[in-house]
Amino acid sequence: MRKMMNAEIMEHDIKLRQMGADVYVINSKMCFVVFLVENTEIAYVYNINKKGRYFLERIKPYPLALREFDREEDVINIIEIDLEQFKNATHSHNIDSFIEINQNFNRSIRKFEDLFLYFNVPKETADAIKSRLTEIDEIIDAAKETSDRIYFKKNPDNL
């Protein structure tokens, strides 16, 4: 199996180098971590390499962007907090709509990317999208001010 993997990597390597890339193949281990919280699957994937770099990404219930860490404790800590917050959130009657909104955001991002990469979009359309995003930001900021805080172990990263 390892031989087959190496051969496949070599094929990709040739194609990517012909496209102008530098390709670095690093021996590492990939770990899939799955929790089941009240019938909601919460899954993470992280990669550990020999140089002690950790690459963590949440993949379920909705993806969270890849982040790089230096220490194993950071990875476990992030997962621990994330899991606690999800456990809290599952008690909320809004959990289904929270997950649905997040999934819709992610889908919208992908659709917007396609729009940008495949079509010559008029400036007015881009402005309209920007304005709607500002509206959403304002709704989120306003909701923060009017809602009770339920998690105190750490402060929000983006809010």
């Binding site: 031989k3 087959m4 190496n6 051969a7 070599m10 040739i14 180098r17 012909q18 021996n27 020999k50």
Partner: protein
């Protein structure tokens, strides 16, 4: 003694059948069989280790280290892309050049390594030419097995034979090289006409090949120079090892150690890539066959062979060639050769004849026989697996229709060669 004899034969046959069935991992099965022989006191631990051919093991490990370092430089991809460009994208010329590279590479490295290096480049080329990769990969499989037959280090059966008999690198090249060259050319001519309609590409796609930049394939130019230097020194070492009084494993392991040191590659990363499962498979087989020797089975079989053939060397040689070829086309040739080696040695002792022609017959039969079916050699299985991952299917039946007749042709040529030139 009688009970131990039956026990040893029983363990050996069951292990062999399980390896052949491919239902379980061959290394795990062979190890259980081998250490069962030790646990059952058919051979003690000391005796078991005595039967392990550490020259074969050392040669395999040494060459694996050299290849694992070399391939990090991108040299194989560079050579293959350069060849495709020299061929100006013409599919037939590309396959001819790639098969020539495969034959040379397979003569110096083992067949599995060779196909693992040439197949990814071939897939890139066939993707670029928008052609079916199977008419490119089937010739490469056959030529990898043919090229490996020519040298001591080209195929594991040859490594085992060379190690057990003291026959050196040059002995193999001189005895088997000429017939391998003939088989190579005849095979390529057959492919040229057999696959003629598949070797056609549009001018536009040929231009895409010419636009490939072979220099981009070089990952580490300094490592490439060091690797080429060490490989050339290794080949020179193999050529001279007998006259210098060194075992082939000494040459391979010394070269591997030097390359490990000067390449500055991460030693741990290189060692991860060593095929430990293959190494332990060899170890276990040596112990298994050693147990049969210990209880006198090999001596008995050799005496039977002597009785059947009446000491007629030509007949014995032809029988060994064809039986090895047919057996190796469906069985793993490594356990087969591991079993045949003590048998032929005992035959030589009993008959008082020079059995060197029998070693050449065994090498030709075991190496070329692997071309007969899709499961006949590891290289065939690997290529079929790589094609499956690439979304293509190389079926047993399709391969059999091409591989088996070509294997028969190569064995027929070998028969004539052995009878006319070797005996």
């Amino acid at each position: 003694m009688q009970f131990q004899l039956i026990l040893a034969i029983g363990v050996f046959i069951v292990t062999y059948l399980l390896i052949m069935s491919e239902k379980m991992n061959r290394t795990a099965v062979a190890m259980v069989g081998a250490f069962l022989m030790v646990v059952l006191n058919i051979e003690g631990q000391e005796r078991a280790l005595h039967y392990v051919d550490f020259n074969t093991i050392g040669l395999l490990v040494g060459m694996m280290i050299i290849v694992n370092i070399m391939k990090k430089s991108g040299i194989f991809q560079y050579v293959a892309i350069k060849a495709a460009k020299i061929a100006k994208g013409d599919p037939w010329k590309i396959i001819l050049y790639f098969c020539t590279i495969t034959a040379f590479s397979s003569a110096l490295l083992d067949n599995v390594t060779t196909v693992l290096l040439i197949v990814p480049v071939t897939l890139v080329i066939t993707d670029t030419l928008d052609l079916n990769p199977i008419p490119f990969l089937v010739p490469e499989i056959l030529i990898a097995n043919i090229g490996g037959t020519a040298t001591l280090i080209g195929d594991p059966p040859n490594i085992m034979i060379g190690s057990a008999t003291g026959l050196g690198f040059l002995d193999f090249v001189v005895a088997l090289g000429p017939v391998v060259v003939v088989i190579f050319f005849i095979t390529m001519v057959i492919f040229k006409y057999g696959y003629k309609m598949h070797y056609v590409a549009t001018d536009e796609n040929k231009m895409k090949i010419l636009r490939l930049d072979e220099k981009k394939a070089i990952k580490d130019p300094i490592l490439m120079k060091k690797s080429i230097g060490v490989l050339l020194m290794t080949v020179l070492g193999f050529v001279l090892h007998q006259s210098m009084g060194y075992e082939s494993a000494t040459i391979a392991l010394f070269a591997a150690s030097v390359l490990l040191l000067i390449s500055k590659c991460d030693v741990e990363d290189i060692f991860i890539e060593i095929e430990w499962a293959t190494i332990f498979f060899f170890l276990a087989l040596f112990i298994l066959v050693g147990a049969l020797e210990e209880v006198g089975v090999m001596e008995y079989l050799a005496s039977k062979l002597l009785t059947v053939t009446g000491g007629n060397m030509t007949m014995t040689m032809i029988v060994i060639l064809w039986v090895s070829a047919i057996a190796s086309s469906v069985l793993d040739n490594i356990p087969f050769v591991a079993t045949m080696i003590p048998l032929i040695k005992n035959y030589g002792v009993m008959s008082g004849l020079d059995v060197t022609p029998l070693w050449w017959a065994l090498a030709l039969g075991a190496c070329l026989g692997g071309n007969g079916t899709l499961v006949g050699a590891s290289a065939n299985v690997i290529v079929s697996g790589l094609l499956a991952r690439h979304g293509q299917k190389l079926s047993f039946g399709y391969y059999f229709k091409i591989g088996f007749p070509l294997m028969i042709v190569s064995i027929a040529i070998s028969t004539v060669y052995l009878v006319v030139f070797i005996i």
